[in-house]
């Protein structure tokens, strides 16, 4: 349950930072950390929740945008980046990059809240 709450909260707050014009692109790293502090889990789980939340958000948004665009741009970008023109890879790479940042930030949050050493 905790995991699901953390994942959803991470995704929602990350989405909101993306709407705020004053927020830098990495604003979701801060919110992902805060979520991990509020909804405390072990470091590994926190990472996974952060990663999943933003992976799903970014890949989902990218997929939605791409569908509405009929893939006009994604094919071009997937050739600029060395992905052989494969749109699916591009969407996955997008999700992984966002997920990694969020997951790492969530790990920080988890360690920030931890009181005693756990293995």
């Amino acid at each position: 349950m905790k995991f699901l709450v953390a994942t959803i909260l991470t995704a929602i707050l990350a989405f909101i930072t993306g709407l705020l014009s004053f927020s830098p692109w990495w604003g979701f790293a801060i919110t992902s950390l805060i979520v991990a502090v509020l909804v405390h889990q072990k470091a590994g789980k926190a990472f996974l929740a952060g990663f999943t939340g933003v992976f799903l958000l970014w890949a989902g948004l990218a997929w939605w945008i791409d569908m509405n665009n009929n893939g006009v741009l994604s094919v071009k970008i997937a050739n600029v980046l060395p992905l052989g023109g494969n749109t699916i890879y591009l969407i996955i790479v997008t999700g992984v990059v966002g997920g990694l940042v969020a997951g790492m930030a969530a790990m920080c949050g988890s360690f920030l809240r931890s009181t005693k050493s756990r293995s």
Binding site: W26, W58, I65, D66, L73, A105, M107, L112
Partner: protein, 814 residues
């Protein structure tokens, strides 16, 4: 808190964000770039994107509406000129900001700020050619006339109004890829854009440096034959037999011309780095009502330029209560450049005239360049220190000396630093103050022939052939520009610059510029050929192209009851005039017995060729390879006597020479002991061509379109091959009416019949949106390839509820 793991993960996270926020070489900051709410995904325009908007700006004076049709062409309805050009600026920026920004930065010599150290020499050359100096001089002229300044100001405000709305997320894609930000627009940048056009069209039309080298080994008589002023096959713009007025100015050659100029055999080692493409030409023609089915004149124009995505052109209609104009505009400049209004239509081709000369400068000290020898004294030069900022490198400073002639483009520090070449100042008409924009402002509003001549007479650079037709039934053409009056061979070669005796003595009076109005024969045409026959009383060198004019003349002279569809067909014509002349000579002088089976096969393809450079033509490919090899066989040995090499004679020069004299001296290969004949050269040429053809055939590239691979590149060319359209199925060549080469060709095709109502058609190889993520990025290309056109909708006030309108953008005063 677990301090150690917390610190470690925090450091790792921060490092990760930092790494994703930084540009690595050509890789953009990946975090920002991939973020679906900031990065490139935001540029993926939904296919159902609406362009409706309600916009409020303090600089808008009245109320204005922009109606977009289904091709995303804006029809702007404003109450006054200021609002009209404000909106034009806004729309240019909204759809084409990156190209405006990039092109003007490149014009100013600031490409290194974007591209890094590899562009330093390009930037130095732009500055040494005085591109910014030229734009500043144009600005002074604009500022002198408050009425024109108002228009340029309004345009600039419009561009900046759009830039002001930009956030990180809606920056054009290229800024995200290259990681930089757009810069504010200024009137100077508009002037720079027009100077970029001037460079493109009037800076590559001379070969003074290369001719200077040719002069060191060839005698004057040879030079005159290798690089003739008037080709035999010429079909001039001004119909043959037109009488010219007595010249208003008679330039006199200095007494020393033979001894220190013509017979000076010193070579130049400096070389231009970004010499404009010789193929920058165009076709335009107009037929009078006497030759058309409707009885109304029809005007056609297709400017040939480097093809790019986004296109150099942006289509639009501009209307106020006192004017109504449709056509293509240049993003970066107000006005319609090629188009029509309710009364007239106009088009342009390049004059190809030589308006740029070099003078040799003697500095007192080559290092400081502070003084140079002029009229028997040391004269102070004006030094401009150019500061070139370089992305990922240290700032470069370059001192450019300005003399009475103009900037010293080449000296010991540029471009030939190895041999430390001569110091050469450049005299170029584009440096002189003038306001070309106003010509277009007036043309947009011209109602008749008199308005047209009034509009164009102040147009100085680059020299253009303005073709004209009116609803009143007039047709006309003027070759308009500011052209120096030269004595024989003045400025063909580098000139002595130690005194004023070799300077231009004046300019050809404007009224004596070649022109023709309503000729008996009922048509006029220009296709970059020499404008006049040898009876014109001035020496007018240039980089003329003869063949297309011959072909157009051949067709137009025989046509009657012409319809717009006929003119569209002619713009897409593939007939190869030069090959028609070459074919019998090639076959006559070929030793067929010396050919092997493979070579015979290509010969058979050539023999059965219909002289059409269609996309699937194999004959065109064989012909082109054979003719290229023939030229190499005849000329390469002779031209290589100088280093750098002397310029190649025009292909029609070679052809005409062969028609006159099949045993001329250059046929012999001077590198062999025996004397070659035309038989040897023609046969060897086919053998060499066959080797190349066999290789191409094995790659499946024998068909002409596969051989030349027509491509429309993105402006950043090889840096973004994924944004290009390659392998387009289109034929033609630079000497053919449909002048498509590998990446160059008809950048806009337009046909306008001046009937009531006006019937107009147009197409360009691109799309209205500069955004590679939009379906409007390249949506005209297929039509253009197939030779099809869009019907141009000349919208009326009463059409505001028309079903053609897809979106409306409202501009209000705020």
């Amino acid at each position: 808190m677990r301090i150690v793991p917390f610190i470690i993960t925090t450091v790792v996270t921060t490092a990760l964000v930092f790494a994703l926020n930084k540009q690595w070489g050509t890789i953009p900051p990946m975090g920002k770039f991939l973020h679906p709410q900031y990065g490139f995904w935001q540029n993926a325009e939904p296919s159902s994107q609406s362009f409706d908007a309600n916009l409020i700006f303090a600089d808008i004076k009245g109320k204005a509406d922009v109606y977009f049709d289904d091709r995303l062409v804006p029809h702007v309805f404003a109450e006054n000129d200021e609002d009209l050009y404000f909106i034009q600026g806004y729309l240019h920026a909204k759809f084409r900001l990156f190209q405006m920004d990039l092109q003007t930065k490149a014009a100013e010599g600031r490409a290194s700020e974007i591209a890094g150290p590899k562009a330093i020499n390009y930037d130095r050359e732009q500055r040494r050619l005085g591109m910014k100096y030229a734009a500043e001089n144009a600005m002074k002229e604009i500022d002198k006339d408050p009425a024109s300044k108002l228009l340029f100001d309004a345009y600039t405000k419009g561009v900046n109004a759009y830039i002001g709305t930009l956030k990180e997320s809606n920056l054009p894609l290229e800024y995200k890829l290259l990681n930089f930000k757009p810069e504010k627009w200024t009137n100077l940048r508009t002037a720079l854009l027009l100077k970029m056009m001037a460079k493109m069209l009037s800076s590559g039309t001379e070969s003074d440096l290369a001719y200077t080298n040719a002069k060191s080994v060839f005698i004057p008589d040879e030079l005159k034959k290798m690089y003739p002023q008037v080709p035999d096959s010429l079909m001039p713009i001004i119909p043959k037999g037109t009488a010219f007025e007595k010249p208003g100015i008679m330039p006199i050659a200095p007494l020393s011309a033979d001894s220190i100029y013509i017979n000076n055999n010193e070579i130049v080692t400096a070389k231009e780095i970004s010499k404009p493409d010789i193929n920058n030409g165009s076709n335009n023609w107009v037929v009078a009502g006497s030759k058309t089915q409707s009885g109304a004149p029809i005007l056609s124009n297709d400017p040939h330029l480097e093809l790019s995505l986004p296109s150099i052109w942006y289509e639009m209609q501009l209307q106020t209560p006192t004017s109504n104009t449709y056509g293509v505009s240049l993003p970066g400049s107000p006005f319609v450049i090629i188009g029509f209004n309710d009364s007239i239509a106009w088009g342009v081709t390049n004059s190809q005239r030589d308006v740029k000369d070099y003078y040799q400068i003697k500095f007192r000290d080559d290092k400081t360049k502070e003084e140079y020898w002029f009229d028997s004294a040391w004269k102070k030069s004006e030094l401009r220190i150019e500061t070139i900022n370089v992305k990922g490198g240290s700032t470069v400073f370059d001192t450019v000396a300005y003399t009475v002639f103009g900037p010293v483009m080449f000296d010991k520090s540029f471009s030939d630093t190895l041999k430390g070449g001569r110091s050469l100042a450049v005299r170029w008409t584009a440096h002189d103050p003038s306001n070309e924009g106003m010509t277009f402002y007036k043309l947009n509003r011209a109602k008749n022939y008199d308005d047209y001549t009034e509009a164009i007479k102040t147009f100085e650079s680059p020299g253009q052939n303005f073709v004209f037709a009116s609803k009143a039934g007039d047709i006309a053409i003027w070759q308009q520009g500011k052209f120096p009056a030269r004595w024989d061979r003045q400025g063909l070669f580098v000139m002595p610059g130690e005194d004023s005796s070799y300077m231009w003595q004046g300019f050809i009076p404007q009224v004596e510029n070649p022109h023709s109005k309503n000729p008996e024969r009922g048509y006029l045409q220009s296709a970059n050929q020499r404008p006049v026959d040898s009876t014109y009383p001035y020496f007018i060198p240039g980089s003329y192209i003869t063949e297309r004019g011959v072909t157009i003349e051949k067709y137009l002279s025989g046509m009657n009851n012409i319809t717009p569809a006929d003119m569209m067909k002619l713009q897409n014509n593939y007939f190869n005039t030069l090959a028609e002349d070459a074919k019998p000579i090639l076959l006559q002088f070929l030793r067929e017995a010396d050919l092997n089976a493979a070579e015979k096969k290509y010969l058979d393809i050539f023999k059965s060729w219909d002289l059409m450079a269609t996309p699937d033509s194999k004959g065109q490919t064989v012909y082109q390879c054979w003719y290229d090899q023939l030229e190499i066989g005849i000329w390469k040995d002779d031209l290589s006597k100088t280093k750098p090499m002397s310029p190649w004679p025009n292909e029609e020069t070679t052809m005409e020479w062969l028609k006159r004299d099949t045993a001329f001296k250059f046929i012999d290969d001077i590198n062999t002991p025996q004397i070659e004949t035309l038989y040897d050269i023609v046969t060897t040429a086919l053998k060499n061509a066959s080797a190349e053809l066999a290789k191409k055939e094995s790659e499946g590239k024998l068909e002409w379109t596969k051989f030349k691979n027509p491509t429309v590149y993105h402006l950043l060319k090889d840096a973004l091959p994924a944004f290009a359209r390659k392998g387009l199925n289109i034929g033609g060549n630079n000497n053919i009416i449909n002048a498509v080469t590998h990446s160059h060709g008809p950048s806009w095709r337009m046909v306008v019949q001046l009937s009531s109502p006006t019937e107009a058609y147009g197409v360009y190889p691109g799309g209205q949106s500069g955004n590679p993520g939009s379906k409007y990025y390249d949506d005209y290309i297929d039509k253009w390839v197939e030779g099809k056109y869009n019907k141009l909708w000349f919208m009326r006030d009463g059409d505001r509820m028309d079903k053609n309108i897809k979106w409306t953008m409202k501009f209000n005063k705020g």
